[in-house]
Amino acid sequence: MRLITHNMLQCHVKGCNANNFPLELQEVVLEQEEAEMNEDFLRNMLTKIEYDALVATCLKLDINDLPATIPADAAYNDEFLQILHRVILETHIKSGKMVCPNCQHNYIIRDGIPNMLLAEHEV
């Protein structure tokens, strides 16, 4: 799972409705894999990314390249788009877990796949 996908996942345990995003990554194994960059797609994603959550997540993973706020000229800032591309589309979470900041539920990531299934009483 790439960080772009993590940026769109939230806790869905029954009754856990607030402060349930972003899920905190713990004990993760990361892998960088090169991917072709597509500026048009990145521009399109600028308004869709939860940027604050992305920056917070990255800092905890010791990824310090992203500026604290989206640059005003982000759409045509090549340097920024390259960093964004590397972070959200080339950084893969191979294993670890995601912990809900609210209810502390653990979602396990194995073989790059987050297990978002819940037990019956949690749905």
Binding site: M1, R2, I4, T5, M8, L9, Q10, C11, H12, N17, N20, F21, E33, A35, N38, D40, F41, N44, M45, K48, E50, L89, Y107, D111, G112, I113, P114, N115, M116, L117, L118, V123
Partner: protein, 228 residues
Amino acid sequence: MKLKELEGYLQDVAVFTDPKIKLEQYPTTPHLAARMLYTAHTTYDDIENKAVGDMGCGCGILSIAAAMLGSSYNVGFDIDPDAIAIAQENCEEFEIEMDFILTDLSAAPAPAIMANGEENARGPYEMMKGKLDTILMNPPFGTKLKGIDMVFLKKGIDLANHAVYSLHKTSTRDHILKKAKEWGVECEVVAELRYNLDKSYKFHKKQSMDIAVDFLRFEKKPRPEKRD
């Protein structure tokens, strides 16, 4: 890429080794997958440079076809880790980037209302609403779990920013057209196709059978502009 060429490549997508009947796991044929994605790409421009979600992705053939036609981001949802494992291998084979989420799409979307009046989030993917441009699916037809086809479809329409492509039994067409109206989305029967199912399960008496399926496209209408 030509339609025939795409279909040819898709012949190499591995299918379920041990299909699970309760999940209605039938592989989408290369013919159907190629037809769906080729049309979505060439007629409607819903694939190239788009973020694409695949609901009940199984072995990933729809997303692989999308990626071959230039989608920029692919994510698949499925409840079966065995199917996802095959899909991952397929993606490696085709050198395609795709993320997978192990999740249950079968739960009916319950419109629980929170204290602040907002609708409660019922799935881990609620935040993807409006972020995935195009949703693809070949949902279970509901022969084992009645109504599940409509649950998938409703979730897909909720998630999609723009368009949903789906396959449904032709016999359910009237019902779906009525529902689409209720949901405020446009529904077009793009084509009526034959879904050739090889004998996948022991209870199938015939070696192979054809069922009539509709290839449907749903489009969300832009929100009406507010007038002062």
